[in-house]
Amino acid sequence: MRTITIKLPEHRGVPVEAERISADVLAGLTIKEISEIEVWHGNRRLPLSKIFLISGDPDPDKPEETRIVLEGDLSKVKRLGEGMSSGVMEIIGDAGMHAGNSMRGGMLHIKGDAGDWLGREMRGGRIIVEGNAGNYAGAGYRGERCGMRGGEIVIKGNAGAFLGEHLCGGSIEVMGDAGDFPGCANQGGVIRIHGHAHLPGAEMVKGSITAGSAHVLPSFACEGTVELGGLTYKKYIGDLVENGKGELYVASGQIGK
């Protein structure tokens, strides 16, 4: 497997639009060609090599045989892995907004925190975040009627507000807590929150949300308790405001702990 290492030597105050950093774009290029790729840095276009230190196996390979390793404080580097369909991308540090958005395949592994809009409108593939994720992970962008449609997001820390808003498919797992309105307007995806969820499933019509504990909206009807994986959950149906048939399962304690 070919490895390309892209190091950010210093923290950038001005955002970088790095949608071209993905295996699909870089795999077919030599290291020299990669250095010459232009990205927006604020309102200016700069070649990648002016911002990053780039090293690795020099010769092109197939995207699925390509591993991109990013290092440094990338919290202002946006759109990493946008639309990627294969290969592996590892981010050793924090990732900026829109990481893995519209992703179709491959694997994005963020070893720090992820910014807002992580994996928004994702179609396939896998995202793992070792730290926390910002708001709107797996959501649809402003005004869209469909967020994530497929694939998988695992967040090992906490997630921000509007996790999986307008989720149309795929699954999201959060090991910690979720902020306000997780699974808002869920259209058929699966969300599993191990910690606490605040007001999950507002306007949800299909799909399911499981939470370790939750502040449940009054527009959900409790249908008794069910046993899942050796734990007892309260089962709710909603959101009744939307005549929804979504399922909400709430354990009394934290799942798996």
Binding site: G140, Y141, G143, E144, R145
Partner: protein, 566 residues
């Protein structure tokens, strides 16, 4: 400037594909000229396109833009040396509207519905639409003063109000949308037929339509009344369409044109008793147009994919929002109208949408006289205007229609007559439907043709009409019509090889119609009371000032000078 060697289509002047040169001097077509030579050897040359019905400016556009950030993403184009940035697909920003029309070879576009009270905003947006000449039709169909005049059978006062309203709105013509329905909607209901009285006004839509049509002719306005029927968008509404057109049969036009222009006919050519037995009645409507001569129509063709419906027909928008489970904006416009905006998606496999698609094409193909038909999508209600080349290629190629029908729900074959229609339009008919007819219908004497003295609005396409067979080469027709080789607006090359190279400011047309002073005084004294009692703004702040039209083109009408008001 001389355009050399093009194959020119100018049906208004009896030119149907002749190789000839066109001379341009001082922004007009001239006998001869010097200067720049444009080599158009063998290429398709025609007058600049005229869109007679499009929603391009006003508060409803901004409502659409605000409620659809998802749409904004669909059409972003960065700025260039000449152009400002573009956004949006169904509700593009103002700049994009101008650039995209120009790229299609269109040089004129009319906004189809503006309430007087919101006209200032409409003009602010029209000012920001580059290149094209434009104008805005003014809404009168659910207006309190109009309905009072109709109830009192006082056409003198109504004429004064229409003249004043056009002046106040800097408007171009009389638009009527679901007459009476906008008022009834204020009480949560609608008018269900042309004879259903409007609550609290004791008038019927039929009376409103007839009175406005008579006044329109009394004022000798360049355009006829522009009518959006009652019951639009409902199954079985073709009877309402014919009943309404019958009402206007005996009205004498004051100019050489129709007495009624029907907006987006497709939406009013529906049979069936509900959505389950929904079917096309386009052939009945087309027959009616073939047998009569007082009406013209624009298509309102639907385009599969996203659209944004926006209309002063507020009850219709409520129904749309419910059916589509969509976002809904509803607006009560004081004493004048109501309106709504709802995003939409037309789907190939949805039976109703498949039939709607067929109806637009049937209307264009079954109406024998192309001068009665304007090609539109009722942008953005049926889909964005950038899809006009798609419609042109469908109308010119039966093969393409057959290919398309294979991708649609099968009811398109049983519930419309489209599969049996063999007619394929030729270039002359296309030029009529997109240029000559809309210009004549709107009463724009210097547009839609290339006679001496006409506006030098010319489009040249990378299509060789003598070598191409549009019936088979429909893909080339679509590609060629999508990016004009040259668009010349007022003698200035604005598009070269599909790219905008200049973005001059177009003109804004409006109609100043004169009425007798005594009638105007009588009308104004009653109107002042309305402002004091009901309006949220003062009469003195109501009129659109001249400062809002940086490049006006005033068309005079009426009988004697209008008394200066306010």
């Amino acid at each position: 400037m001389i355009i050399k060697g093009g194959i020119v289509y100018d049906p208004a002047n009896g030119i149907f594909g002749e190789e000839m040169d066109i001379c341009i001097e001082n922004g007009r077509i001239a006998e001869d000229a010097g200067g720049e030579v444009i080599d158009a050897r063998g290429l398709l040359v025609m007058p600049g396109g005229v869109d007679a019905h499009s929603h391009i400016a006003g508060p409803k556009l901004n409502t659409g833009r605000i409620m659809r950030p998802d749409d904004s993403r669909m059409g972003t184009e960065p700025r260039t040396r000449v152009c400002r940035p573009s956004t949006g697909y169904t509700v593009p920003n103002c700049y994009a509207i101008g650039y995209r029309y120009a790229r299609l070879g269109y040089t004129t576009a009319f906004e189809a519905a503006t309430p007087i009270i919101e006209a200032r905003h409409t003009h602010e947006e029209l000012e920001e639409i580059p290149i094209v000449d434009k104008g805005a039709l003014t809404l009168f169909g659910s207006n309190w003063t109009v309905m009072e005049c109709v109830r009192d059978n006082d056409l003198g006062r109504l004429a004064a109000y229409v003249a004043w309203g056009l002046r106040a709105a800097r408007g171009y013509g009389v638009k009527i949308v679901n007459p009476g329905g906008g008022e009834a909607w204020g009480f949560g209901s609608n008018v269900k037929s042309v004879h259903d009285p409007v609550p609290h006004f004791d008038v019927t839509p039929a009376q409103i339509i007839r009175a406005l049509a008579e006044v329109n002719e009394r004022l000798r306005l360049p355009h006829s009344i522009h009518l959006h029927f009652n019951n639009l968008g409902r199954p079985g509404n073709y009877t309402t369409a014919i009943e309404t057109l019958e009402l206007l049969k005996d009205i004498k036009p004051s100019r050489m044109r129709q007495v009624v222009h029907v907006a987006h006919m497709q939406f009013s050519a529906y049979g069936g008793t509900g959505w389950k037995d929904f079917e096309s009645k386009a052939s009945v409507i087309a027959d009616y147009f073939n047998q009569t001569n007082h009406a013209t129509m624009d298509l309102g063709q639907i385009i599969f994919g996203p659209a944004t419906t926006m209309t002063a027909d507020a009850p219709l928008e409520y129904a749309n929002a419910r059916i589509g489970h969509q976002k809904w904006s509803n607006h009560d416009i004081e004493l004048e109208e109501s309106s709504g905006v709802v995003p939409w998606v037309y789907m190939r496999k949805m039976p109703v949408n498949a039939v709607q698609w067929a109806i637009g094409l049937e209307l264009a193909l079954l109406t024998r006289d192309p001068w009665k038909v304007v090609m539109t999508t009722d942008h953005p209600n049926g889909g964005p205007f950038v899809n006009y080349p798609e419609i042109i290629s469908l109308l010119m190629s039966r093969e393409k229609r057959e290919e398309e029908m294979k991708t649609l729900h099968e009811v398109v074959r049983s519930r419309s007559t489209l599969p049996s229609i063999e007619r394929e339009l030729d270039w002359s008919e296309i030029v009529i439907m997109t240029r000559a007819a809309p210009a004549r219908i709107l009463g724009l004497e210097d547009k839609g043709h290339l006679g001496i003295g006409a506006d030098a609005d010319v489009s040249i396409y990378n299509i060789k009409p003598e070598e191409i067979d549009p019936s088979k080469d429909h893909a080339e027709v679509k590609a060629g019509m999508s990016r004009a080789k040259y668009t010349i607006k007022g003698g200035v090359v604005v598009v070269r090889d599909g790219e905008i190279v200049a973005a001059p400011q177009g003109r804004t047309y409006w109609v100043d119609a004169a009425v007798p002073e005594s009638e105007m005084d009588r009308m104004l004294s009653a109107l002042k009371e309305k402002f004091e009692r009901y309006y949220s703004i003062r009469m003195s702040n109501y009129m659109v000032q001249d400062a809002y039209l940086s490049n006006p083109f005033v068309v005079r009408a009426g009988v004697q000078p209008l008394k200066e008001v306010i």
